[in-house]
Every structure is written in C-alpha cells, then in structure tokens.
C-alpha cells in the first residue's frame, strides 16, 4: 500500500482527489481559493490602515490560513514519509528543450538551477524567483483568483470570467516559456 502511495500519483487519481477537496470545502461552508490567503496576510499585517483593499475582517479567513498551514504540513509529510526521492520523470522532449537552455536533467522534483541556495545567492537567480513571485501575487489578485479559484472552482461553476482568466494564464505562460525564458536562461 505504502509503495503505491510513494509512487507518482496518476493524473486521474490526483484530479479526482483535488475535486474531492473542493467539494469538502463547499460542504464545510467555504470555497476553494488559495491566493485569497495572500490578501489575508497583507490585511493581518496591518496594510488595511493605509490601503483600503486590505481593510476587511481578515479573521473571517482564518480557516484558509489554517488550510495553508496544512499545505505546508502536507509537503513536509510527503518529503519525509511518502517519497522515494527518485528524480522526477518528465517528457524527454522537455528534458531536451531544457538542456538547450543549459538546465541539466532532473535529479529531484525541482531544478537546482532555480531553487538551490547557490543559485539564489546570485543576483540573476534571486531576481528570477522574486519577479516570478511578484507577478503571481499581483496577477492572481488582479484576476481575482489563481489556479484553484479560477481554473478549478470557477470553471467547475462554468463561469466565463474564470475561462478568461485561464486563457490569460496560458497567454502569459506561453509568452514566458517561449519568448522570455530563452532570453534569461
């Protein structure tokens, strides 16, 4: 049993699992949307005093911060107990494309070229992570949601705004992948 859990989970099982989490959140009277936490954190930090957007009752969102804490715990449990620590298996085409950009074949689940301490201590390495995060944070709130709020929850409710947002995610993602990443790596 544990051996099966330790392998990469199939797409259909993972997708069904995520849908299950979404429905349980609805059953518990809440909705699935992770990036709201970023706004809640700003509000809890006192940003509501100077910026109206953060002036709301953030305590009503504590349940989502607890969910966030759980997500950290889930990552920890997986790396400690549910992982084989073997390199991630991705498409050969992707490995070949990334090799052209100077990235080595995977040795774990994340590329050391981006996330190792060595990389982050270079100006370029730091800026890649900082700008990536900045855009995700700005864009998710501007669009009113991230992958969980729009792509999963919003599309499940057949909301046109969510479809527009997901189209935007892909325009941005393709532009970064094919136009910008080749320039910076």
């Amino acid at each position: 049993m544990l051996d099966i859990i330790k392998q990469t989970w199939s797409w259909w099982f993972s997708g069904a699992f995520i849908a299950g989490i979404m429905f349980l959140l609805l059953f518990f009277g809440q909705s699935f949307g992770f990036s709201s936490n970023l706004r809640t954190i700003c509000s809890a930090a006192g940003c509501g005093k100077s910026v109206k957007f953060f002036d709301f009752n953030w305590r009503s969102q504590i349940w989502n911060l607890i969910f966030l804490a759980g997500a950290i715990l889930g990552g920890f449990i997986t790396s400690q107990f549910l992982s084989t620590n073997e390199p991630i298996i991705i498409s050969y085409d992707t490995i070949a494309d990334l090799a052209k950009l100077g990235l080595s074949a995977p040795t774990s689940i994340q590329p050391p070229e981006l996330f190792s301490l060595e990389s982050v201590l270079t100006l370029k390495g730091f800026l890649i992570l900082a700008i990536g995060g900045l855009f995700v944070g700005f864009g998710s709130r501007y669009a009113g949601g991230c992958t969980s709020g729009h792509a999963i929850s919003g599309l499940s409710d057949l909301q046109l705004p969510s479809l527009l947002a997901v189209i935007g995610f892909f325009i941005g993602g393709l532009a970064m992948t094919f136009l910008i990443i080749p320039l910076i790596f």
């Binding site: 990469t8 954190i41 989502n64 889930g74 498409s91 994340q110 900045l134 998710s140 991230c146 499940s156």
Partner: protein, 137 residues
C-alpha cells in the same frame, strides 16, 4: 477544534500537490510546452468532476454540514481584469513554476528558497491593492 477539518484538508491538498508533482517547476514547463498530458489530465479531471458536482449541488439544492445552502458567487463581469491579471499571473507561474498553493507546499517539502517566491507574491498582492484604483478592471 472547528478549524481542524481545514488543517486536515490543507494537509491532503499539500500531499496531492506533491505526489501529483504539480508542485514541480519541471511539470509546469512540460505543460506549457505541451509535451505531456499529466497536468492537463489533473486539471481536466478535477474540472470535469467539478462541473458534475456543482450541477448536482445546484439541481438538488444541497446543503452544507450546518444545513445552509451551498452558494456560488458569480464573478463580476469584466474582460480586462481577467485577461490582464491572468496574463501577469501566467508570466509568473511559468517563471517560478509555482502558483500560490504549491509555493507553500514546496516550503514544507524542504525547498526553502521557495519562501522568496512566496514573500514576493505577498508583495505583489500588496502592490495590486495599492494600485487597484489606477488599473483597468
């Protein structure tokens, strides 16, 4: 105690993000390069089951555990904010390989440098709040 269910659901969310490898920068690259079905399968399955479930909830007016009706809030109509915001999000998603959920899963997994991405995502959210009224919505 009323929060413990959210801790459990969050933990399960963290585990599925890690075990499905949706938290991996490589998987996001593979997705945007259209070189694997994996991420599309995950999102497609979740959305397909989601559409079926939401339809049933609405059709039978299903209630939550406290007996309140499950409500869905239609998002306000606009094109600019979803498209522009979405594009900015997509640029960051493909660069850092992480949306907000997987960022914190990575931190728990032991990729502590992802805390930089998460910190700047908070800064980005703050900047949106600061400039909100000057942006097209």
């Amino acid at each position: 105690m009323k929060f413990i269910k959210f801790l459990v659901l969050g933990t399960l969310f963290g585990i599925v993000m890690a075990k499905s490898e949706a938290m991996s920068w490589y998987r996001i690259q593979e997705m945007f390069r259209f070189q694997s079905f994996h991420m599309y399968g995950i999102i497609g399955t979740a959305v397909t089951l989601g559409v079926i479930g939401v339809t049933l909830i609405k059709k039978y007016n299903l209630r939550d555990f406290q007996g309140n009706p499950v409500t869905f809030h239609p998002k306000e109509k606009s094109i600019a904010r979803y498209l522009l915001g979405g594009i900015i999000f997509g640029l960051g998603w493909a660069l850092s390989g992480a949306c907000p959920g997987p960022m914190v899963v990575n931190i728990g997994y032991g990729f502590f440098t992802m805390a930089i991405v998460f910190f700047f995502a908070i800064v980005g959210t703050y900047l949106y709040g600061y400039f909100k009224d000057k942006l097209p919505h």
